[in-house]
Structure formats: C-alpha cells, structure tokens
Symmetry: C3
Subunit: 103 residues, 3 copies
C-alpha cells in the first residue's frame, strides 16, 4: 500500500474570510482544500473575540511541510492582527491515488 | 516561525450536551473551543446507541497535555456512563499569535 | 487514565457515496463512524474534479491499524478510479469507556 507522510493544515477563522483564504491557498500552491462550517469561541490576547454561532469556518489543506509553512507564514502576516484565526498542523499518513503517484 | 506542540482534544457526543460541555470546558480552564454538527453511529458496550442524523456534535479544544487530561477525566466521570461519547487526542503543532506568545 | 493508541481514518469524498461507504465500513468491521458535511476542491491527476459546495462529506472512523489498512485498500480498489476521494490516517490517543475496556 503506497502512502506518504504529509501535513494536515487546519485553520479555524471567520467565515467572511472564506473566499479570500481559498484564493490565497491556491495561489500559494495547494491543489485542494476542504471547508466546513463550525461555531466556537476563541480568545486571542486582549481582543477577546467572541464568534457568533455559525459564523466560523474550518479550512483544511493536505500538503507537504514546506507549503504548510509558507501558508502559515502568509496567514500570520496578513490576518493574525485583525482576524480571529487559529492555525495548527498535524502529521498524517496520506494514501494518494495511482495517478497522483505518477506525477 | 514560532510554534508550540499542543493537544487537539476531540469529543464526539450527543448534541443535547453542547451547552453543558462548553460550560465544563471553560470552567476547567480552556480559553476556546470549536463545535461542529456531525452525524454517525457509535457502539458503546451493550448500550449499542444509534445516533439520529444531525443529533451529534464534535467538540474540539486546543490545550496542553495537562488540561486535556483534566477534561478527559471529568468527562469520563460525569458522562461516559449515560451518554454516547467518544474522546481522543492528537499531537498538533500550534502557531500562536504574537500576543499569545507574550502572555 | 486508560487509553489506547488508535488510528483516526478520515475520508473526504462525494456526498452521493455516503450510504455505500457506511455499508462498506460496517461490513469490514468498524463499530462506529462519524459523518459531516464539507465543501471543497480536490485535484486528482488529470480529472481535475471540482466539487460543488456542500456536495462533499467527511467520513471518520476510529479503529486499529489493521482495520484502517483494510478499509483503505478496499476504498482504493473500488472508488479511487471513479470518485473524488482523499484518504488519510493520523495516530490518536483514544480514551475508551470502561465497558469497552472489558471487551
């Protein structure tokens, strides 16, 4: 069974950013992404943002370590100051399709 | 790039518990949480609970190992006997904002 | 605190497959699963599938390494050629209920 160790990059943030983040992610080099609706509460230093129910999203990208760091650095620079945003990565074992193995 | 190794604590459980669990989580020390709607089926020993579609939730908390264990122990003691509840943790690399790094 | 290291198997795929995949997963030996609605985009080689909003699902199964590999192999053989499907696993620390510990 062929597999590859990758990063699953997860971003919890404001739903208003969805289109902008997708554009960023694709431009930075990701070939896919997954979005889902979430609700929750985050406290970011003194901003103490409270999120409205259903106004937040989870964005997920499977990518290599290098692209994950590029996306994290870009988002930290452009969004961390003004938006509620939580980012983390986890190591995953990814099972690519045969066509992707050839590429 | 600053990062910290944390735990992502995930709980799949009955939607009716949402407000109660949020209160517990905040009281036990978490500064944030994420909720999303899920559906599914779990079998817990002989109870063999079958969940109605959309009546379940995923609760996620990013925290350190110590708080994760406190929450797990509390939930096991208070909910495992009477509610369908699945709990697991995974190691994540968390990228905090600058303001959180100072705190 | 009793815990067990397990696999969290995650599948992103087309919503039309939901009932079929659940039947497969249960027949192959899983005792539970979780489904949630997602949207996103995946590129699978030359097919370049673009998913309609809300027409995709996330399927999650907590299981041991052996069952995870059985499910991955089955899905790769039966669905990878004709459906948009992304599969990955991650190591999780699972906290079973007492009744499950006895089994």
């Amino acid at each position: 069974m062929t597999f590859r160790t990758c990063k699953l990059l997860t971003i919890f943030t404001e739903a208003a950013l969805e289109k902008t983040l997708i554009r960023d992610i694709e431009r930075l080099g990701a070939t896919g992404y997954t979005i889902s609706d979430v609700r929750g509460k985050g406290s970011r230093g003194l901003r103490n943002s409270s999120w409205e129910p259903n106004s937040s999203i989870r964005v997920e990208v499977i990518c290599d370590q290098e692209l994950a760091e590029i996306i994290v650095a870009y988002f930290q620079e452009h969004y961390y100051a003004n938006f509620a945003m939580t980012i983390f990565t986890v190591d995953v074992t990814f099972y690519p399709s045969v066509s992707l193995q050839i590429l």
